[in-house]
Point group: D2
Chain length 360, copies 4
């Protein structure tokens, strides 16, 4: 089985985009998933290395630089076993359906199918059991392939640290303020005049989708406390972008239905691990959450690449007791790694392990 | 009396600093306070226009550009009637005491005396009655002059909109996240490498002083509801700087002890006015708080100069009901104008009106 | 005649854009040109103050804020006497022709007609005599109206200080390096990810159009030295953008065919004045070029608003003798004021004075 | 001999600074130079990983993170074989002398000894023969150790591409404009308010030292053309910083005493190699200069880490014929790698190969 895995071939849709390049970077040294098809749009027919805007660490890997960018067409992907789809909203929906129909497992970072009732919205450490929705999806849609989505990067930055808290404490309200990076909006994305000497609020629509995704993720978190889902859990988010390139910074105030001890919260964050850690998946960080006690940390520049693989751990800091029933913490997540490409690869690894992805 | 006022002469300590220049800019057209003495440190003996770093709108006023920068020495200020002191922490304390001892009214933007029990921490719209502390101060210290302080810019950005809310509703908790500008830290202030492609947390000390000042300001706010100060009001702040030049942006979540109607909160903000408005003080904005309903506003770049005089109004937006007992809003305050120099001039005008400042 | 002028009514095309707002700001206090028609595209029918992105100093003028944005249609502009057109490349060309055909004087900041042989490319201080091309233009095209263009902001930043040098010295080569601001590219314009932690080269096309325009402007400069135009004058430009909002910074090395004395160059810059100064046009700065001797000036932030009206003077500094036949200097120009709207208004004033614009 | 080399132990002075961290990062995988002593100032006694501000790629290497920061004292460095000194100007001078006196080979990135007549100012590809100055230095000063310096990062960004041009063509004048990054000034270095929405000129002193160093480096370049050093070679530099973190961008115009063919210049740049390449030194990039033909490259963000090891190649682009006797090109150099730590390590490798550094 190990040997088989070594041969899994991946297509990356939108491969020259800001998430596409992280897929390329992370898969180049992957033990059993290999980049075999680079799909693009404007640059079809040209060498990847010439057309890509490599806005990440390092340089375009040599073995990838000369690969030709090809059309986004399932018929040309006979030998592809997995499709990673970081396509933009709107464009992604029908393309992903077509691929799933044609028999491909599609790991999507796009919002278009996130709230289809038979599509998992997967953070492998939080709701791995939701991959069983795939069975229902295939049956209902009569597909050989399937779609699995990963959540909005912003939602992940809050949901990952909130998951162990929600699992272990009687959470009442969550008040989130985000200070997000530019790469989350893609390229060209945010106009420069919106963020030089400015703080850009993203407005109600962005706030609301963030809340909606976190709500679903928490609902799907297994609780260790004897209580059904509190329908009155109140979540609010106020979202912004500033002139940072990568890394979402989020300030989270949480209130509880009973007194809470911040040291116990710290312990739940510190010891948090999930299925990927137990299965020792290749892209699983030892610790999904790294808690820092330094006063002026985390910082976006210094902490976004935390963990191993770099960028796969969420860094939590500024953890403090605000009142008997309220705490405060801050998180930094690498939005295009853990929040997109890295989360997608981790999802694929879980699906391989669980038998949902294999040589086609 | 009007005539007398027209002759009030002001000294500005630290006049070449980031708050000093706003004092100069705002006083140049003041109806009765005139800049007569520009005190500085490194640049004594040189023309103001040559040495000042004019990091604000417009150019150095012609009538000021040729004035010589002079030493910070009360003995040289015989004809000065008011002293504005935006000196940095530590340096300010003893200097301000000396001036007060020598008979000068000192309006300080510095933290050194903010928590002396006999020194007002004044926002003229919020706690004008606290100027009576001056009588006690003079008696206790045997001074002819006195010291009045204005609060930290960051505290003002939250306290001004919280004041009408606190006055009219049974506030329970306040959770603040700030995204502050660089000018609040003076020059040279924040190293560039701390804020390019980064979000800089200011840490516990800054968080705590923000809370401490807001707490005092709310305690001194007259309430319209039949309730004594709730000792269990819980305040928390998480403070940051990003690469904006002027203007502090603050996200504020407030919870209440009973159900609250966000429209009534809006009304209390919209109609907020205080002593400066009733007295029509020259530097009083018509509306201390301007509420915007635009989805992606306020923004630092576009709203920091709001009001008339520009920069004297706090802009509040993103006002929303989070749950039955919680609301959210955002504020933008011009930190060196309303939050420092403009607040200082407004304080001086109130003190003139109340008879505490006159020709010496 | 003065009285008539007081009634000139102006339409501003693209009035909500980055140059459009400077037209509005500058015309609000103009002695005889009044804003009477605000044309826009996406925002027709809405109040100007609600839809404009006011990325300049001050606030939207009260008398303008409630004006409705209207279609770009000459038929609706019966009472308009002048049309200012800061429309983008491509869109501008046919629209401007239509307006000229319908009898309107069109002052264009767009590139589309800059190299029509019968269209002036006007900097009023440099080549005022070229307005006589209008006569030829009207005759050839059988238009009652006409088009006058202003040069690319980047070209103006170099051409204005080069004009007196070219007029008085035997210039041989000019080597320009620009560090331009974002507003020159309009909104949305430059993607933020291109300029955060980056220097963005604009490439050959932008370099070349800069050179082409400067070349024409110098050719049209009257020389005080007994020499015909040197066909072998060599110009080169290397153009960039960085994350500044307004203000183009240009480093210029100039070599000469004979020994040159930098102090004489300084004098020619210092004393430079043209037709607008002699005619005392309302928008003419006293000095089109302000020479600073401070070592670390000009700086974009501190010098872009130089002059009176603010932003109408080019600041030159770092003037130095490099070798017997070479000098170096630096210029800062406010690209949307002197380099666009202000230059357009100054052109209009010259045309009024010369009888080309009057009540229609 | 190989075996001996494997044991060379290095001390890094100023190890927590911006150049210090690049030494640590680059030496961690070095084949024969090992980090054995981390000297610091404010943080003595603490673990390196806790106090360092790791403003570069990756994370603090695990094997280094727990090492204790120690005093800058030669007496404590018994087993150290090489000392790398990126100490700041002024502080470096006497310390480096003391180390050399105590028998240590000192590789300095500091300016203090750069113009001592018996101290090499070394770029290993350009003037490797100057290491023979060490013999004279030791004799004159009666030292067992010695000092070798590397040039200012800004000078290297121009001198490296100018060296093959100077070697092969009859260069007449060079006109440089730099757009430098913040890390070149260290931490805290440049105040944020100097570079947000601004371009900061560095002034005459910085311009002049840049020219002085390039002049010496070119003088020490072996020429392939039959001509002695032209005393009238004219160099000029205009230097600036903008808000980039790493990477100096330089625009260079060069004129020649005779007609020049830009394609031949390109060839001389493309094929440039030196002693480090011939000796296959571990830190030598295959190509010290990488020439790009892309129109809008090099860019600071995308090209500063060029080469292998990353950051050791200078990227040259925008190469163009300006006139028969003038060309233009642009360079990007990683200022703290090739321009400092990497250049220092390469110098050390050359000195090891030439027998100047060995086990002590």
């Amino acid at each position: 089985m190990i040997n088989m895995r070594r041969n899994l071939k991946a297509a990356i849709l939108g491969s020259t985009g800001l998430v596409g390049i992280e897929y390329v970077r992370m898969l180049v040294n992957h033990p059993y998933i290999k980049v075999s098809y680079l799909a693009g749009k404007g640059s079809v027919g040209k060498p990847y290395g010439e057309v890509v805007r490599w806005q990440t660490i390092g340089q375009v890997p040599k073995e990838i630089a000369d690969m030709e960018v090809k059309p986004t067409d399932p018929k040309l992907m006979d030998d592809v076993d997995i499709v990673f789809s970081p396509l933009p909203q709107g464009a992604a929906g029908p393309v992903e359906e077509e691929f799933a129909k044609q028999g491909f497992p599609v790991i999507s970072n796009s919002p278009d199918h996130r709230f289809d009732p038979d599509v998992p919205l997967l953070i492998p450490e939080i709701n791995p059991h939701t991959i069983s929705l795939i069975d229902e999806q295939r049956k209902r849609r009569d597909w050989k392939g399937f779609i699995v989505t990963t959540p909005l990067c912003t939602a992940q930055g809050a949901a990952i640290p909130l998951a162990p808290i929600y699992a272990n404490f009687r959470l009442d309200s969550v008040f989130i303020t985000t200070i997000q990076s530019l790469s989350g909006a893609g390229y060209p994305g945010i106009p420069s005049l919106d963020v030089v000497d400015n703080v850009l609020p993203l407005g109600d629509a962005y706030d609301n989708k963030t809340i909606k995704e976190i709500t679903r993720l928490l609902k799907e978190t297994n609780r260790n406390i004897p209580e059904s889902y509190p329908e009155d859990l109140s979540l609010a988010a106020t979202t912004h972008r500033v002139a940072t390139i990568h890394g979402h910074y989020e300030v989270i105030y949480a209130t509880f239905k009973e007194d809470v001890n911040v040291e116990k919260v710290r312990e739940s964050l510190d010891t948090f691990a999930g299925e990927p850690q137990r299965l020792k998946l290749p892209t699983a960080p030892d610790r999904p959450i790294i808690v820092t006690n330094q006063d002026a940390r985390p910082q976006v520049y210094f902490d976004r690449w935390a963990g191993n693989p770099p960028g796969m751990s969420v860094v939590v800091g500024r953890l403090a007791q605000v009142s008997r029933r309220a705490i405060r913490f801050v998180s930094v997540i690498h939005n295009t790694v853990r929040g997109a490409a890295g989360g997608g690869i981790l999802a694929a690894e879980l699906l391989v392990e669980k038998g949902y992805i294999d040589k086609r």
